[in-house]
Subunit: 380 residues, 2 copies
């Protein structure tokens, strides 16, 4: 019997490459293109799960590195997996831990076998291999796990990018082999009628189009359940980000989801969605929110600005989110000035609503001429 | 024409002195006995207004001292008052600023005229008089304002308590005179059909029963809209708190609300409600929550404790609040360990639900034999 982890239904496609779909996962069917909020340590910072649901979040991320260090993947496995632990019944995706090992940990030593590193929390020593990353992600039990990769830094010369890519390819193979042998060990395997996790491969290759293409082709041969483009939004100019995405997308199979990791600003996620990207994640809407930066239909609003001190208008006049319907700019400014914890919550809710609104608009534009999609919209 | 600020309807009274009532205020009718969460700077810390509503909060506090310093009472007056500024359509109460002037500010100098102090925020110099406190509170426009008083410290010898009481009595008179002359200047006066704020007097007198009784009698002669007992829960043993409350309550008019300020633990608020106290406020449920202390039907739970690391049970098995219905002790422990902002939010929601549950139980016990109250319960 073959395990079912993911079904991708294409509902509509545009000339531009943009596509609307449904990603059927064991815990939830996600409408795509989808924006995925980041719940680093098992919480989308300052926003409660019921609020995320009411905003329309269908899939959120957990960071393997953070959850591995605290509270640990074994306790989460024993408690039935991450869905149950964080009380999130919809879909989840975990990253491989690779990105945080490279960006947060100390004294890391990379070998062909894996990465030795010290925890940024307590300095304790750890060793991550592709197999270990898979084991941790299976314990967490997200609907989608990611292959263990090395995120190539920017800038990187061609020799460095080539060597990094070699590592990522070898680790992708080992991730997939281990995952295939163990995917039915996910904590909720029995509960969900023998459906289980899916594994996505990650396209690296720095900013070298030919390396990116080679990587994509070889990952597609390995036959992952979906494909991510990683190593972007690491400091490169935007044109380069778009060029890398444009080089890779045509090489990926049409019938599997395409995920660009760690992007981006509102105009970026709209642009990439219109190029044919199905999934994106970013800490930006929530992180910017905690610093008082709101994304609105009138552009960016730094809510700390004195000019808003007596502005009784809503944060975004065109937005009907629960924050914009109730609170004024003056109040949001006061909350951040006074250091009130509600500030981060309300700002995050608005920014997430704004991001979801963009994706909803892109999706609905894609279904105007498509009867199936419209029927689906009426019932959703 | 006489201004209407407050109607107090007694629904049920018990032998013990306990009473159930309805406090009709311009913005909301509050079921009493009522617990009032504290929204120091215009936000009940970490809990959004819609959540407070769904928990059943009918009246919340704002602190005059904090709001006067930031964002300032004049901006709030220009924006239509505190209700509109913080988007809270139900009832509000502001304290007089006195307590925080004494507990937070620096270099204060008390004279018969008022208190000179320096802001704890920026060291700027300010002078508060009874008239100025009234002016600030009228600008804020809470449904209930409080007379400017001196909160007598504990311990205080008889001479000191007597002198402090003399000041409080003189300030009560001046507060009332100024308030009566200016109460129709509240920002929402026209909107609410010429109903306006009410003013409560505050009984002080340290821990001297005769001083407390004298203070109560003289305040009652002045004819306030309601009466508070202040200067309690300042470090004295609990028996003394109860003794002072018991001395004062019988002297207060039956047809006006009685408010004990700044209490307390769950067993205290239940005890005082059963003695005939109609209103109480305290930062404890939200402050304790932010430090990981949960009040539950099984006693206090320090959610940081290692023993809860894999405890998949709800925070309080007997509680049906939105936190206990969804999240486990293990998850709440993880959130506080990981420093997640959601920790303070979820813990605060549970603790507030627990406090409201106590008041709801006391109220329902008081109406078992009362047809009017039962009819009211069915329609509320």
């Amino acid at each position: 019997m073959s395990l079912v982890g993911l079904n991708f239904n294409l509902i509509a496609e545009a000339e531009s490459g943009a596509r609307r779909g449904q990603i059927e996962l064991p815990h939830h069917t996600v409408q795509s293109p989808a924006f995925m909020p980041v719940g680093t340590a098992g919480s989308v910072k300052a926003v409660a799960q019921d609020v995320l649901e009411s905003l329309g979040a269908e899939i959120i991320l957990g960071n393997t590195y953070h959850l591995y260090l605290r509270p640990g993947h074994e306790p989460i496995r024993r408690m039935g997996g991450l869905h149950r632990f964080i009380a999130w019944p919809r879909a989840l995706l975990t990253d491989s831990g690779g990105f945080q090992v490279f960006s947060l940990s100390q004294l890391r030593k990379v070998s062909d076998d894996g990465v030795q590193f010290r925890s940024h929390l307590d300095g304790s020593s750890h060793f991550f291999t592709p197999e270990h990353s898979m084991d941790v992600q299976i314990a967490l039990g997200a609907d989608i796990a990611m292959a263990f990769d090395e995120c190539t830094e920017y800038p990187a010369d061609r020799a460095r990018a080539t060597e990094s890519l070699r590592l990522t390819m070898a680790w992708a193979r080992r991730s997939l082999d281990y995952f295939r042998a163990h995917r039915n060990e996910v904590p909720w395997y029995e509960e969900q009628g023998a459906s289980t996790q899916s594994l996505f491969g990650i396209v690296q290759g720095g900013m070298y189009a030919d390396l990116r293409r080679e990587c994509a082709q070889r990952l597609v041969e390995m036959d992952f359940d979906g494909y991510a483009i990683g190593g972007l939004s690491v400091g490169e100019p935007r044109e380069l980000t778009l060029e890398m995405i444009s080089e890779v997308l045509p090489l990926l199979p049409n019938d599997k989801p395409r995920y660009v990791m760690g992007v981006g600003y509102p105009d970026e996620i709209e642009l990439y969605a219109k190029k044919g990207v199905d999934m994106m994640d970013c800490v930006l809407p929530t992180r910017a929110a905690r610093h008082g930066l709101l994304f609105t239909s009138e552009g960016r609003v730094n809510i700390k600005n004195r000019r808003y001190a007596e502005d009784q208008g809503p944060p975004d006049p065109a937005c009907d989110c629960m924050v914009c319907r109730r609170y004024s700019r003056a109040y949001l400014r006061h909350l951040i000035q006074a250091g009130e914890p509600l500030s981060g919550t309300l700002n995050s809710i608005h920014n997430l609503a704004y991001y979801f609104g963009i994706m909803r608009r892109v999706r609905s534009e894609l279904s105007v001429h498509d009867a199936t999609a419209q029927a689906e919209m009426r019932t959703s």
